[in-house]
C-alpha cells in the first residue's frame, strides 16, 4: 500500500487484572481502543494526550511490549504481533526508544561508552575497533566530546544524559525512534537544545519519530502530523498546523486552551472575571 515505516490499524490494547478476594474476579481495562495511523519515512507523528489517554500503551505495543488485543501493527512491513523471537530481535534494531527520565533509563554504573555500545554488541554483534569508532561517531552526532565515553551518568547534567539516551537509541540506525516525553524532565533552556538535536538528527539520518508528549508547544516544533488521544481513542488526527492551529474537536480545543502560554498574561485571572 505504502512505504510507511509503521502502520497501525485498529489497534486495541487491553490489560487484564484480577481483583477481589484472592484475585477471584478477573477484569480487563481497554487502554487503547481502535487506533489507526501511519508514520512516513523521515517524518514525525506527535501523539498527544493526558495521563491515562493510552499514549504510552500505543508506544509499547509498537515495541512489542504491550499486548495487541486486536488490530495490527506493521513495522517495516513486518507484523509485530506475530513475530517470533528471532524476528522480534530484528525488529528491535529498527524501533528504539528514548524515555522521559534519563536518570532512570541509564544504568548508573555503566559508562557512557558501554551504554551506547550495548545495542551495537547485542543487536549487531559489533566488536573491537569498529565498535569504538561507531561509539565515537554517535557521541559526535549528539554533540558530546569523545572523552564523555568514560564518564558515568552521575557525572553528567540532565541534558547530557538525554543526549546519551538518544545516542543509544539511534546506535543501530533504527527507522523509528519512539520518544516518550523526552524533554519533560528537563529545564526549559535545555529542552530547546534537545528538541533541536532531535530535529537535526532526523534531517541527517532520515529517522521517523513517534513523539509522545503532553506539551503541545514541543509537539508543534517537532511533529509533521498529530494524533490527539482521549480515553484510548484518537479524537483528532491531521497535519500539525491544522490540528493545533485550527482544531475541530472539542477536546483538542480544551487541551489547547489549557496550555499556559506567556502570550495570555492574566489568562486564568481573566477566565474568572
Amino acid at each position: 500500500m505504502s512505504a510507511a515505516v509503521v502502520t497501525v490499524s485498529g489497534l486495541v490494547v487491553e490489560y487484564r487484572y484480577r481483583a477481589g478476594i484472592l484475585g477471584m474476579t478477573p477484569g480487563s481495562v481497554r487502554a487503547v481502543d481502535d487506533v489507526s495511523f501511519e508514520i512516513q519515512p523521515g517524518s514525525t507523528l506527535g501523539l498527544v494526550g493526558e495521563s491515562g489517554s493510552g499514549k504510552t500503551s500505543v508506544a509499547r505495543a509498537i515495541l512489542g511490549i504491550a499486548p495487541i488485543s486486536a488490530g495490527r501493527i506493521l513495522l517495516q512491513g513486518r507484523d509485530v504481533g506475530s513475530a517470533d523471537a528471532r524476528e522480534r530481535r530484528e525488529l528491535r534494531r529498527h524501533a528504539q526508544m528514548v524515555f522521559q527520565q534519563p536518570t532512570t533509563s541509564l544504568d548508573p554504573r555503566m559508562t557512557v561508552g558501554n551504554t551506547i555500545a550495548e545495542p551495537l554488541v547485542h543487536l549487531l554483534a559489533m566488536r573491537g575497533a569498529a565498535l569504538r569508532a561507531r561509539v565515537t561517531e554517535l557521541l559526535e552526532l549528539v554533540g558530546l566530546e569523545p572523552g564523555y565515553a568514560s564518564r558515568i551518568p552521575r557525572q553528567l547534567s540532565g541534558g547530557q544524559r538525554q543526549r546519551v539516551a538518544i545516542a543509544r537509541a539511534i546506535a543501530t540506525s533504527p527507522s523509528l525512534v519512539v520518544c516518550d516525553e523526552p524533554t519533560s524532565s528537563l529545564d526549559v533552556s535545555v529542552q530547546a537544545q534537545i528538541i533541536n538535536l532531535l530535529v537535526r538528527l532526523q534531517s541527517e539520518l532520515g529517522i521517523s519519530y513517534l513523539f509522545i508528549s503532553h506539551d503541545l508547544g514541543t509537539v508543534r516544533q517537532v511533529a509533521d502530523t498529530v494524533a490527539v488521544l482521549h480515553r484510548g481513542r484518537i479524537v483528532e488526527h491531521g497535519a500539525v498546523d491544522a490540528v493545533l492551529g485550527a482544531p475541530r474537536d472539542e477536546y483538542t480545543r480544551t487541551l489547547i486552551a489549557a496550555v499556559p502560554t506567556i502570550d495570555r498574561i492574566g489568562g486564568r485571572r481573566a477566565a474568572l472575571a
Binding site: 530547546a192 530535529v199 503532553h214 508543534r220 500539525v240 489549557a258 499556559p260 489568562g267 486564568r268
Partner: protein, 342 residues
C-alpha cells in the same frame, strides 16, 4: 455556593507587605564547608496578590521558599536575612513559635500531592487536624468547616471525600484536598511550590483558577514557586526571576514578559516552544545552569550570556531600577554601561 465560616477578606488595596524578607542567605553543607545557594534574596508578598518566583533547577527558588517558613532541610541553614510577617519580625523565632505560625498564618503546598498528604489518614482527618490544633475547634465545628472548604474548592460528594484516603482520589482531587489542608486555618500567606507541575494541563488550568479564586476571595498573599513562565503569566501579578541564587529581575508580570530586561529572562522566554508557530531551530541558551556554582566572581549568568563584557566577569551586578517597579541586575542592560532608562 456556601461560604466558609472563616472571615472573608476581600482583595485589598496593597498597603504594607503581608510578608517581607530581606537579604536572605541560605547555605548548604558541602563536605566540611557551607556553600551559599541563596545569596541575598529579597521577597515581598502582598495581600490579594500572587507573586511568582521563577527559576530553573538549582536556581535557589525552593530554598528561598523553605527559608521563609523555617522548613529548610537539615543540611541547609539560613545564615542571614530578616523576615517580617505583617508587623512581626519572625526571623529570630524558635522552632516552637514557628510551628505555631506555620499552618496558622503561613501555609505551604507542594508539587506532588501524593507525597505531601499522609497516605494512612483520611482527607477529613488531615483537613480538620490543623483546625483542632491551631484554632482549638472541636470535632463537630472542624468537620463543618472542612465540608464548607471542600465545597468551595469544588470537590464533589463532600461527605464521601472526607472519609477517603489520598490514594482513592485522582491527582487533581488530591491537589484540591491539599489546598484545603493548607487553607484550613485561613492563613494570610500561602507558599505554593510547583503546585501544578505534576498535573495534566487541563487539571492544571482548573487548579490555577481555583488558586486565583481563593486569592481574590480571601485576600491571600501567595508566593508561587515555578519553573514555568507560562504558569506565572496566567495567574501572577508580579514575577521574580531567580538565577544562581539571586533574583536577577523582578517586576510586574506585564513588564517581565512583555519587555524583559535581563538577558537570562529574555533567553528563557525565547526558548519556550510555542504552540502557534514552529521555529527552526528553536532559540537556545547555551550550556546549562548546573555549573553556576563553580563561577568564582562576577555575574553568574556571564558564561552563558552573549552580551557579557569585562565587568560582568569581575563584579556581580546589583538590582537596579529599569522602569516603574521593575528592576534588573545586569551591567549591560540595567547598569551604567547601558544606562538605566529611568
Amino acid at each position: 455556593m456556601a461560604t466558609a465560616t472563616a472571615p472573608i477578606r476581600g482583595p485589598s488595596v496593597p498597603s504594607a507587605p503581608a510578608l517581607q524578607a530581606e537579604g536572605l542567605v541560605v547555605e548548604v553543607r558541602s563536605g566540611a564547608t557551607w556553600r551559599a545557594v541563596v545569596r541575598g534574596a529579597d521577597i515581598s508578598l502582598e495581600r490579594g496578590r500572587i507573586t511568582a518566583l521563577v527559576g530553573e533547577t538549582g536556581s535557589g527558588k525552593t530554598m528561598t521558599a523553605l527559608a521563609l517558613i523555617d522548613l529548610l532541610p537539615l543540611s541547609a541553614r539560613r545564615s542571614a536575612g530578616r523576615i517580617r510577617l505583617g508587623a512581626d519580625e519572625i526571623s529570630g523565632l524558635g522552632s516552637r513559635a514557628m510551628s505555631r505560625i506555620r499552618g496558622d498564618r503561613i501555609s505551604m503546598i507542594f508539587q506532588d500531592p501524593a507525597t505531601a498528604l499522609n497516605p494512612v489518614l483520611t482527607i477529613g482527618f488531615q483537613i480538620t487536624e490543623p483546625m483542632r490544633a491551631h484554632l482549638g475547634l472541636d470535632d463537630r465545628a472542624a468537620v463543618a468547616r472542612a465540608r464548607e472548604l471542600l465545597v468551595q474548592l469544588g470537590l464533589p460528594d463532600v461527605d464521601r471525600t472526607l472519609r477517603r484516603f489520598p490514594h482513592e482520589l485522582s491527582g487533581g482531587m488530591r491537589q484540591r484536598a491539599l489546598i484545603a489542608v493548607a487553607l484550613a486555618c485561613d492563613p494570610e500567606i500561602l507558599l505554593a511550590d510547583e503546585p501544578t507541575t505534576a498535573l495534566d494541563v487541563t487539571v492544571q488550568a482548573q487548579i490555577l483558577d481555583l488558586l486565583r479564586e481563593q486569592v481574590d476571595r480571601r485576600g491571600l498573599a501567595v508566593l508561587l514557586v515555578t519553573h514555568d513562565l507560562g504558569v506565572a503569566a496566567q495567574v501572577a501579578e508580579r514575577v521574580n526571576v531567580m538565577y544562581g541564587g539571586r533574583i536577577v529581575e523582578r517586576g510586574p508580570v506585564e513588564q517581565i514578559l512583555g519587555s524583559p530586561n535581563h538577558p537570562y529572562t529574555r533567553g528563557l522566554i525565547g526558548c519556550i516552544p510555542r504552540v502557534d508557530t514552529r521555529m527552526r531551530p528553536l532559540p537556545t541558551l547555551p550550556g546549562n545552569a548546573q555549573g553556576v556554582w563553580d563561577i568564582p566572581a562576577g555575574c553568574r549568568f556571564a558564561p552563558r550570556c552573549a552580551h557579557a563584557i569585562d565587568v560582568c566577569r569581575v563584579t556581580e551586578p546589583e538590582l537596579r531600577q529599569v522602569g516603574a517597579d521593575h528592576a534588573s541586575a545586569c551591567w549591560v542592560f540595567a547598569g551604567s554601561a547601558g544606562g538605566a532608562r529611568e
